[in-house]
Symmetry: C2
């Protein structure tokens, strides 16, 4: 598993964000609109032709394979393809975490594209966002680790809308860290998670 060194300045990173963020936001809107539209067949067909044209224009020059995980020499990470929080990934809600004491906290909104049961978040999407936040909490002691096991307990259905995920390390035992977290709506916890994270014997190559 290869991490990539791409040594760009903070200014260049900010410039790339400014270029891509509006496009990614519009693609996220597009995904939502395709699910919820009630326009006629001809408008749908025209939309398809237009989107296919945009795809061609973007694919004129593209990297082989996936985006990967890139770091600058100052160890600033660019996981811009990440399925949960990648800046260039329109599938990602996105889930951006911040530190809150020893814990990690992320606030985000899940709309129509994240549905499972009617009007509620897909159980697997609850797992996706919690996996991301527990993984970041596991790394919050600055020692890289990978997920060994993770368990989710569904207390009640999670409604679509604004949500908060939190997680923190609750136990450390040799190379094993236990991390606990929750997903909550305004009414309290909807899903509990507990994960066992393993510190590898040698750190990942950069």
């Amino acid at each position: 598993m290869d991490f990539t060194l791409e040594d760009i300045s903070d200014d260049e990173m900010a410039r790339r964000r400014a270029v891509f963020e509006p496009l990614v936001a519009s693609v996220r809107e597009l995904v939502d609109a395709v699910i919820r539209t009630e326009v006629g067949d001809e408008v749908i067909a025209e939309a398809q032709r237009t989107v296919a044209g945009v795809v061609d224009s973007l694919r004129a020059h593209q990297m082989d394979g996936a985006y990967g995980v890139r770091y600058t020499s100052r160890m600033v990470g660019m996981a811009w393809g990440n399925a949960a929080m990648g800046m260039r990934n329109a599938l990602a809600p996105p889930v951006y975490s911040e530190r809150e004491g020893n814990a990690v906290r992320a606030e985000f909104t899940l709309g129509a594209a994240y549905e499972g049961p009617p009007g509620h978040v897909h159980g697997g999407v609850c797992a996706l966002v919690l996996d991301q936040v527990l993984g970041e909490a596991a790394a919050a002691d600055t020692e890289a680790s990978y997920t060994g096991t993770i368990e989710f307990r569904y207390r009640r259905p999670t409604p679509l809308g604004q949500l908060v995920a939190r997680a923190e390390i609750v136990e450390r035992n040799g190379r094993k860290k236990t991390v606990r977290g929750t997903l909550s709506d305004a009414g309290g916890v909807t899903v509990e998670a507990q994960g066992l994270f393993i510190v590898p014997k040698s750190p990942p190559a950069l």
Copy 2:
């Protein structure tokens, strides 16, 4: 949680599929292309303006809220907004399951949009696809149930590419069903899953 009756014929269902499937396929391509493109800033800006225009055209008429889960009077389900397998949801890989004896099996390809570690599937995406397939396996005895707990054991990283998920009920005890499943690449199992599914005292309203 309300399921919706939308009593359309098989022909009308097939017609709607034929209208939407090409658009959803192109939007899926677009998500991938936005992650992997290396074109210049002006092409990105032009793509954003074009996509925003398509969004406007689709939003001219749209439903309130999410798509929901709809059934015909013959109990044919249309979970077309579903995050894992919705026909109109470009976020869904999609994961389409089929019966294989008592088990449920789904084969699908995960590309750049599903990345976590470099070149590998996000752990939370593994959880998303397994949650879907375990849920379908739990329903394969035709009795509706909801997920109580689900645990994932990551044996090794799952490479991006063609994958298979399988699941089946392994135990039934009163209103509780235990379901086990796996995610595999060509080299064998990468993730194991076990879930406890609960049959509600009264079935969901339709």
